[in-house]
């Protein structure tokens, strides 16, 4: 990369369903929080990228109303309308270009305003699939889950173990939305059936939340903090549409991960990644994500979950924060994954801190069955 870039500050709201707060209020909370964490003021930020969605907010050019709350008054700013992690990519590009030295990225969605599941329906081909009216993100994921189960002989119990792992992890995370006291495979398998084999506790909750982080170039990062989290690599890719892509494999995620690994110099992900924060909107997705990230071979995701490799005390903990199954503020979710990975590197993850994290992976996605993916590799000082 042309310049080194680090994360120097961040903040997130406590994600929940329908809190008595406005979008502007949430954005202000996290923007101010990130600035305070970094110990800088609004004046030090060169450019601001906002991530929010018109359809989720129910109004056009929704993001223009957040400009003031995110501290972007009279600043060079833009907006990205995909998962928040893609907003971080754009902010990175602005700094890498040399035009800016610091950037703030803010992502917010109040999922309670309009269901992201309904919105997934609007991404379908309007001339055909949408007219037939059968599909939505849950139905499509269910078809994928069934295909995956049949091909690799994966059981509902093994998939439920992902939910249990993440929901248990979420209980240690004060920011998480879904806090179920004693999650068990039985509870997951008894939760409401949506589209076979996907049940309520296999699906991420609809959360309201916001998240912000601050990026800085090397020189500025060293001025701002003693504990910069370096962005070592990034890669993204988007698959073809549902009708013409391979649903058995998250191919675009594999491509994105390979690019990120190459940039970061990661040759053996299972040993070189100390923790991974991924966006799993459905629990079976996490097993497919293991495979696409190269943590195991195709179809072997079930072995990782069964043997506890991805548990908090395992060799490669995945989603110690609880992941998307713990809190899914839609467009802010990818940003939260990056922040959670950064927290692990800085040793600020409290009750769910993994020991000795030097290199972490963060993943965000957008689209039916994880159609568009982005992967970040973050590293600590040494």
């Amino acid at each position: 990369m042309q310049r080194k870039i680090a994360i120097v500050g961040y903040a997130q709201t406590h994600h929940e369903a329908d809190p008595p707060n406005t979008r502007e209020g949430m954005v202000f909370e996290v923007a101010k929080g990130a600035l305070d964490k970094a110990g800088i003021t609004r004046e030090a930020i060169d450019t601001v990228i906002n991530v929010s969605s018109d359809y989720q907010d129910g109004r056009t050019i929704s993001n223009l109303f957040l400009v003031m709350a995110e501290g972007a008054y009279l600043k060079d700013e833009s907006k990205v309308e995909m998962d928040g992690a893609f907003g971080v990519l754009y902010a990175m590009m602005r700094i890498l270009s040399g035009t800016h030295d610091t950037a703030m990225v803010v992502g917010v969605t109040q999922g309670s305003i309009f269901s992201p599941h309904q919105i997934s329906f609007y991404t379908l081909d309007p001339t055909f699939d949408r007219q037939i009216g059968l599909l939505n993100d849950v139905a499509a994921a269910a078809i994928q889950a069934r295909m995956y189960k049949n091909k690799y002989d994966v059981s509902d119990e093994q998939i439920a173990m992902v939910s249990v792992k993440n929901l248990v992890n979420a209980t240690s995370n004060p920011y998480a939305h879904r806090r179920i006291p004693k999650p068990t495979v039985k509870k997951v398998l008894n939760s409401k059936l949506y589209c076979d084999p996907i049940r309520e506790l296999n699906i991420s909750p609809i959360s309201d939340g916001a998240c912000a982080l601050i990026l800085a170039s090397e020189e500025k990062a060293k001025e701002i903090t003693d504990a910069p989290v370096w962005v070592k690599g990034v890669g993204n890719c988007q698959d073809s549409y549902l009708r013409d892509r391979n649903l058995l494999k998250l191919e675009s995620l594999e491509t994105a991960a390979k690019k990120a690994y190459k940039m970061a110099g990661v040759k053996d992900p299972p040993t070189e990644l100390d923790v991974a924060e991924v966006t799993e909107r459905f629990s079976h997705e996490e097993l497919m994500i293991y495979e696409a990230l190269g943590l195991c071979r195709e179809g072997k995701g079930k072995i990782l979950i069964e043997t506890g490799v991805t548990e908090r005390k395992g060799q490669t903990p995945v989603n110690p924060s609880g992941g998307a199954l713990g809190a899914d503020p839609v467009l802010a979710t990818g940003l939260v994954r990056i922040v959670e990975a950064a927290k692990q590197i800085r040793g600020e993850a409290g009750k769910y801190q993994i020991q000795g994290v030097r290199q972490a992976l963060a993943h965000g996605q957008t689209g039916l069955c994880a159609q568009s993916n982005i992967v970040f590799i973050l590293g600590g000082e040494r």
Partner: protein
Amino acid sequence: MMRRNVAIIGCGQTKHGRLRNVNTAEMISEAAWNAMEDAKVTPDEVEAIVVGNMQGFGGIYDTELWAGELFGAPKPFLRITTGGTTGGSVAHGGYYSVASGLHDVVLAVAWEKHSDSKERGATTGLAHVAMANMFHDLQQGASLKWLVSLVTGAAIGVSAFQASCYMYRSGCKVEHLDMVAAKDRRNAAKNEYAHLRWPNCTPEDIAKTEWVSYPLRFGHVCPASDGASAVVFAEEKIAKKKAERPAWIKSVAAYADEPNWLGENSQGTAITDLSEQLECIISAKEAYRRAGIKDPRKEIDMAEIYQPFPHQELMFSERLDLFDDGKAWIALEEGQTEIDGSMPLDPSGGVISTNAIGSSAMQRVLECALQIMGKAGKHQVPKDVKNAVAHGWGGSVNFTTVAVLGDSPRR
């Protein structure tokens, strides 16, 4: 640090109008392929795609998820949407993608398909915009019924208010708005891709049209077009190989002054001067500084201004520091802003002739690139274009995107 130089090496668009023969995916694909062919690149050489449109107008969410494969997916995609300035922001996104060093060749494409909405014109989408803009009035005590009745005013209402502010501030008359509209309709007649084309349009022709909302007449209003536009950005070495005369991006800047109308500056009272456009002044200053332009009046040869309504051409040309504040109408009277004048404005016909909202601000960048590359055909300005400025406007009427393009890379 060594800054990467980025140039536009190819442009593509669809003809604009009411395109009922194609679906949105095919429309986007046409512009994308035209751009790739013009740039002499294959989809395999394009490393990433930046897209954008205003989603409320088309009724499809994240269209590129469905349409992407018609012009390059699987590939890295980035969606940037900033309202009316979307096209400009998408162009900036394409620029930054290459300037960052992460990619060497990037396709940027923006579009809008207004005819897909059931209501005529862009009413469906505009209703959303108006609702959003007036939401905060609910907090000021306005009733929902009153709010809905305001929706009919929408963009024209705001622009009429802005035009009044501008006329008061500058002393220009309605006749000048007629002159601008006529000039742009004549220019559009020379542009085969434009929507409203009126070869011998005179200010009198415009003055005969009915009032919509004083001081705006029907002849002053932009159409709601279907269309897409695309440009290909490349880094220096590749640009020099692929294009005879690449259009170099010297700088980009995008600033917003949303509180002017929405927030603290006016406490939601709308007692504000919408013709002040502070953010345009700042965007232009920054863009010129980054581009190394010290005297825009001498160094900028032409401008493509985002002007869905004619007063905006005059107003923004002043805020872009091409004329003194309040004096653009004099330059207009003297013919300076004609296609063969000393400071041609909108030789393509501008937004007032062609408005596929998501794509309009990108078209300004595209048209400046065509002029520098010498590929603007019948609407090529006769003078040598060394530097051009492309402008976009939108947001809550206070967000501006500016790009300075030139015939040589920035050193």
